[in-house]
């Protein structure tokens, strides 16, 4: 659905490229996570993809045509959620949504969305009187009001309580199930792990890894099983490799010991994030030295 080839970008006042030759593609119906440290190039990439920055080098193909050949039809097709809450503070939630609705040819009934996100009773309140969480939920309604096919979400659950974050995540998964495509940026690794089909790690303007969360966990995890057991009233730990767990001594161990916990050596996305982007930081330090 969207292919990025050899993308470079430099801000007009900057001497160096902030995006350095990145390549990736996003399939239709996929949730694609884009992760990296602050200032790694995530927001710049998103701004290029939503056409807020235009003087890039490289190629971006959306639905078989260069992105810069699109104009209004592209904006009819997409929904963009910015990191910060966006609303006219002196207008009510409903007035805000009605203003944006008038800009699109296709719109949805916002009442069910407001109800689901717990804003229905407050829809005639001024947006400026909303809490941060309410403003973020209003943002999410605004993103969906043109019935988009492609969502660009920047930290969509940041600042939400766990209950509302759950609702937003369920809505993202339902959007995907209905055939929608999502480009997601987030620092909340639990959300990324739960939502994304594939993730890309960007560091220092370059892509360091692209794969599914599962494959990355296998790649970066240890192929071991760690067992905690109690012996002579003392807590002990033993580690077995994947090859060892198929052998008789391992079964004997399980039968004879008083096992308390068994953990696989699978790593978390958070650890992978630190490993992948941490390496980049060392590289950066070495270069600047």
């Amino acid at each position: 659905m969207l292919t990025v080839k050899n993308l470079y970008y430099r801000y007009p006042e900057s001497k160096n490229d902030v995006i350095r030759g990145i390549d990736f593609s996003i399939e239709e119906g996929e949730i694609f996570g884009f992760l990296g440290l602050s200032d790694a190039g995530k927001s710049t990439t998103q701004k290029i993809l939503i056409k807020l920055l235009r003087d890039y080098r490289g190629e971006i193909i959306y639905r078989g045509k260069p992105l810069n050949s699109y104009d209004d039809e592209f904006y009819q097709d997409i929904g963009v959620c910015f990191e910060m809450p966006i609303s006219f503070s002196k207008l009510t939630a409903m007035e805000n949504l009605q203003f944006f609705q008038k800009l699109y040819k296709n719109t949805v009934d916002v009442e069910p969305l407001l109800r689901r996100l717990g804003l229905c009773e407050d829809r005639h309140k001024k947006a400026g009187e909303f809490s941060k969480g309410m403003k973020i939920r209003l943002n999410f309604v605004r993103v969906l009001l043109n019935n988009p096919k492609f969502l660009f979400l920047d930290e969509p659950t940041n600042g939400l309580d766990p209950g509302n974050a759950r609702i937003v995540k369920d809505m993202i998964l339902e959007f995907k199930k209905a055939g929608g495509t999502v480009f997601l940026t987030s620092h909340i690794m639990g959300d990324v792990d739960e939502l994304c089909d594939r993730v890309a790690f960007i560091a220092d303007g370059e892509l360091r890894e692209i794969d599914s969360p599962r494959n990355l966990k296998i790649k970066y995890g240890k192929r071991t099983v760690k067992i905690e057991y109690r012996e002579n009233n003392e807590l002990k730990t033993s580690e077995f490799t994947m090859e060892e767990i198929k052998t008789q001594p391992f079964f004997d161990f399980l039968r004879t010991k008083k096992i308390e916990t068994i953990h696989s050596g699978e790593t978390t996305l958070e650890e992978i994030f630190i490993k992948v982007t941490g390496v980049a930081l060392h590289d950066q330090t070495a270069r600047s030295d």
């Binding site: 104009d71 997409i78 966006i86 503070s89 207008l91 203003f99």
Partner: protein
Amino acid sequence: MTRLPVLIKGEFDRLKKYNLFTTNMVVLVFWVLLAWFLEGEVLLEFIPSIFLMESIMMTILLVGATLFYEKKEHTINSIMVSPRQRK
């Protein structure tokens, strides 16, 4: 159909909601009162300065209010990723 009329109407609605029209009216009343107390010939001398001051003051007020609220509301980006035309 372009979205320009929608944007202009939205802008007027917000000028009303954000009390910028009211402020404008207060300033207008101030100029009318000033004109009331001035003699005809003196008033004619003052009129160019009044027009100049009025337009400068209103521009400063509008730009200031726009910048102040944009810092809190971030709405320009959202409008920039919306379509220009509705068909």
